[in-house]
Symmetry: D2
Subunit: 433 residues, 4 copies
């Protein structure tokens, strides 16, 4: 996910003790995600959107060093003077940096040095967190932001690792496949849920953490609409593939059609056909496509083409949020990174057809909304405010989190965003009409 | 302008006689625009967005041949079997075609052959229009569409010709400069007009012609907002230039900032500084910048950066249309192609500060709205319906027409669209807050 | 041909009268070659190697203006101050210039202006030539160079015009096809001519004009070798095509094989198959391939692959020149531009098998020699000397002239040069072993 | 070095025992070179010419598996069925393969797996070598070729590792710098050695191993020439830099000049200036430039420009070989990979001025000769013969080996070859006139 940063509302203040605990938990989770990797896996960058895991490990650490240690610990001495150049992502206000496309050309610093960097920063951060009560309120605010930022990179780690391992013809597994085979019961039919039109209020208004792009809360008008109560499945999407959907320009946006032809797309990312059977590359190696599970790793173009083929459409982000609030999802049903399943899961055959399922977790859902500023949105001053605004062009909003998202990281107002051609995230489709 | 096509509502039907008259007027205007050109000028394509004038002359003709003569005149024999391949723009359903980037590599057919093609099609069309009463209603509908389509290409001709002539260091004039120098009185200060928030209805609902992307009419909610009563001037924009606006990343969207640096943009397109004075290339050759006139030939990125620098913002297309309807513009005040001025004009110093000026004509106004389908939008079947939908991604809506737009072609619901980096159209800025 | 320039040996001095006569003849021939073109044809640049004919007309004129009028006529006033920027080809010492790839984006100056430029310079040049006797010897030397330079551009005009007209699907003819169909007698079998090995002297030594790259004359050693007495024919090359030569990597140089696959080459440039018959685009439009005529419009890669397939090889330039001198060719037998045939011609069936044919004219013959400086080669000082040396890398030598070469322009020591991938010149194959 | 392969002449046969010994020595040396690397260093590919060390380790192994074990051991079972796809370099006859540019995107197989692959193949090879006496003569021939091939990759390993480590701003050292600082005595002045002209015989004729491109031996004629008795030093080259050599087009070949401007070259590769002092990145980290040592890491364009600036020239490969034979170099004086210095060394101040120094080892010497086939050269059949011929275009010959070359690998007839723009090898300059 393109990482967005914003000052936490003051109301998000938590006690110093719980912040320290949370710091430790989040930081350990990042290392835990990298634990199954070889040093070799942590260096490469097979496409520009993917960053080497070593880079994620260091960049998230650089954030704490730059935004907190250098700001709030007067005698802090940086771990290495060149690391700011190496591990700044895109902050113009923080100086020059390695070109994004060149992240995979750097074998050094070694993985072990990056872990030393993490330990060094963690030690200093924990000391600083120990006396957080003496620090200005902004310290806790930015610290929470650093943790949310690291959680965003955890999601990227999961999807980048998948892409990295997928490029080898050896189809190596990140983790061994579960011993119990996935259930193969068909998904229950999709049901339509109705939402009456009117003026609704959307955007974040609570007293927890949110990113600046979720604000200001504001009114919006929608007409009556209906939404499907589950995600589109692999089995449904396969019908589109088999009906020649990838070969019929009529379903596609123009720029999408050019891309499909240029890249010879025939199916979602990671799909391949072997002797008549469809397989997908997964975190557990090559696996047969589970027809009941939600389709994922599709671009906006494919989501939109599928909807056109089906005579339906994608929801707007306003519709999605209104429906999400109405059907009051909690995260108890969804698949998140903590499950270690690393794949969206089929809806139970006996799921309640009057409820809306899979809203949080499983797949990020492409909406038919450009990623623009909400009315009343304001860029903060300084490096932290540099960043959300500058991505608000040529991208689309996705909602709901995925099986790679930390459960504590998602909420119905969360706005993720990607360019229409991206497929390496766990992206999926929910239909509207 | 990227050309969008849609079936005319049946209510747009005009009498056969007036349609014939209109056909002749529109077709003659296209030739009239090309009259000052040399054959050499009609062939080149100095950048991919620009088409050679010869191509415009033929493509608009191909539209009538393909959509009308071949459909409604059973014994029609095409002028030349290869012209469909040469002059199809982007209609996948109508077969393969010359790559857009290669339009400027074709010296043949000769300009004279293209005029013969126009005469041949005009003769057949006029004969067919003479018996329009016997033809199905769809004939008049599609004919009107063909004329609107040709008017869109007239605007492109004006801007493409400007770009073509600009690439030569000789700065040749399309037309001699007017003998009376432009008035140099300063523009009146911009005044703020207030629009109260609420649910409004937008989109085309009349009984005249509209494009399909102006429909379906629908409700939308806006909060209270204010709009400036005139366009931003060259003088105002120059302050941004002189304040270092093109060198400060903080005002720019990320993709815009990359572009500014890669292309070394320092000012609007066509501006150049000579011994301390700013000049602009115009249809009348190189001319000093008139500080009271609206700034034009700027990308969305520049419009947005200017607004950020000024601490303001661009209006959404909903806001623009609501304001436009409220202030009830007619076209009597604006500058259109018929004026043969080919440049947006300064607002009169005594213009009424309580009215909204320059809404129609002068400059297309960038809005902060992605070009997406309206709720209820439907693609038509067949080639005519292929086209609007497929451009609804990664572009922004512009409103209001320009000094290159035919006066009869514009209306407050009209949605033009371009990518955020485009500058060769007469694009400008109106501020909101 | 990439144009090379060098001071003429003083011995090439001709009388002022004959120089004037020659000036007029060469200049008129350039205009004569452009006479069948439309203004539209003179502007476009369908690939980077091709220059618009308008550019050739002006560039050759700029040469006389820059190298002679500005140097030898003290009060000379340039025709237009921007033309030096527009029509300098690649002379770094003469200032900045239009990018080569952008020559086809300039519609102005108009063709008529370029002819006015020619007339202006011709008038001044003729006046200057009228008093050449009073001028330093270098005047006549550089004037002769300017004429040779213009002849080189005449050859480029012929091949560039062919390429320009070929890009249109209309396959327009530069000139009407001859009314008498070409003879279709088969070519006589190729015979081998033997040349004994030893130390030979090559390079230009006469008292006429030569380019600097033909010098210094020097000794070279060759082993015994044999050369075919005629060029490879279309019929022979077609056997290679039909044997799958374009699909078998074994015959190809690595960089050539990559190119063949990337560009999907299946046959020489300008060939196309229609209902089982091979046609070629020619100056007379689309014509059936004459199997007895020499194959042409092939790259070095194709020439080399053909030779490998045939179990033979291409001659070196040393071998070619030694053979050419031994068999004492004159130009009486060859096809040159003056024939207005614009295609290499079949060898007469009764041609003497003990003689070497088609050495001068018809096709430039690819040699297996890199274009490097001869021993003792010296760059001249100033702009005229800037140029031959700088092309002496990554190109191959071609010998013998072609059907687009002026007859008075060629000689056995003449070294033409192109990159291995170029095909738009009249290039052919002579085999050795 | 682009690796060339050719059948060894039968005369190169060595006893089975010594071949086994040699096999073990060469294979161990490859692993030894990689020993200082981290796994991270073995994966990346910072430019297309560089291969990841892991790839070199595997590719050289694949050669033995494919050319020997699969051919001569009937029951041989390949280590892994996908490795042929992963580790084939460019052999079309051996099937499809990973794109060269994508070698650095593959984290798997792991480095440990590649070492397992090496052990597996070594075990089988040693068993096979144990019974070499029973095998056809071709076995020993191809085995020797495999070892020579591996030595070529050892040289590439040394230079690729240098490039890989150089891309990090941390300037990590491959090995610790020697504790004794390099001598800083100036180099002795270059002396000219004279070689009389005449017909000489060049090319390999002995009974040891050679590559096919060193044959056939043949006569060649050279005129009298002189050669400098040592390589150009850093101090001499610095004069060119300081004289503005990189900013004056007059010294450069056209394609070289374009490159210098596009890439902003200012000095040899790996040079950087810090507070007025020149440093070079080396295998021992960043070190001051030793002015007495030979200049290295320069392209042909720089070598040629330097020679032009000095009013001299580069020797041809014929001149180089004739001189090398005349001055009868042995390898005792040169710097080779076994020295573990990884840098060309200054000539001793008291070196004999009548002798020719640094001919073998230290730096590959750019010659002014295109890499073409010798007269009588023949491609072998099958994969082994596929390869030398196909590189014989657009490259230049280098002679003499370098400080990264195994001492047993070089000889005066050895022809190395690179494109004119390459700088990451240990390339240097010897002047002629």
């Amino acid at each position: 996910m393109a990482v967005s940063l914003a000052p936490t509302p003051a109301s998000a203040m938590v006690s110093a003790a719980s912040l320290l605990e949370r710091y430790q938990a989040v930081r350990q989770q990042t290392a835990r995600l990298c634990q199954p990797l070889l040093p070799e896996d942590t260096v490469v960058q097979p496409m520009i959107d993917v960053s080497p895991p070593k880079w994620h490990l260091a960049h998230t650490t650089w954030f704490f060093e730059t935004m907190l240690l250098r700001e709030y610990q007067p005698d802090y001495s940086v771990f290495h003077p060149d690391y700011a150049y190496l591990f700044n992502s895109y902050y113009n206000s923080l100086g020059s940096r390695v070109n994004r496309a060149d992240r995979g050309t750097l074998s050094r610093p070694a993985l072990a040095d990056v872990y030393r960097y993490r330990a060094y920063v963690d030690e200093h951060m924990q000391r600083l967190l120990g006396r957080a009560a003496e620090l200005p309120e902004s310290f806790a605010t930015v610290c929470e932001l650093g943790l949310q930022h690291e959680q965003q990179h955890q999601e990227l780690l999961v999807t980048d690792i998948k892409y990295i391992l997928s490029t080898s013809p050896l189809t190596p597994a990140y983790l061994p496949a579960p011993t119990t085979p996935p259930a193969t019961q068909p998904a229950p039919p999709a049901a339509w849920l109705t939402v009456p039109g009117g003026v609704y209020r959307i955007g974040y208004e609570g007293d927890g953490f949110c990113f600046d792009n979720e604000q200001a809360p504001h009114e919006t008008y929608v007409a009556d609409f209906e939404l499907q109560n589950r995600l589109v499945t692999n089995g449904e999407f396969l019908q589109f593939v088999e009906a020649g959907g990838y070969h019929d320009f009529r379903y596609w946006l123009g720029e999408g059609w050019d891309l499909v032809q240029r890249e010879h797309w025939q199916a979602p990312l990671y799909w391949m056909q072997k002797e008549g059977t469809w397989f997908r590359f997964t975190h557990h190696g090559l696996q047969p496509v589970n027809m009941a599970a939600p389709v994922t790793h599709i671009s906006f173009y494919e989501a939109d083409a599928y909807a056109n083929w089906a005579g339906l459409r994608l929801p707007t982000e306003q519709e999605w949020e209104i429906a999400a609030r109405r059907f009051n999802p909690d995260t108890s049903e969804g698949t998140f990174v903590e499950s270690e399943l690393y794949d969206p899961q089929p809806l139970a055959p006996d799921a309640d057809p009057t409820q809306c399922h899979q809203l949080l977790g499983d797949c990020w859902e492409w909406t038919y909304s450009a990623y623009h500023a909400y009315p009343g949105y304001e860029r903060a001053a300084g490096p932290l405010g540099e960043y959300n605004g500058k991505f608000m062009i040529n991208q689309l909003v996705l909602r709901g989190g995925s099986c790679a998202t930390p459960e504590s990281h998602i909420r119905p107002t969360y706005r993720n965003f990607f360019h229409a051609d991206k497929r390496w995230q766990f992206t999926g489709i929910r239909l509207a009409r």
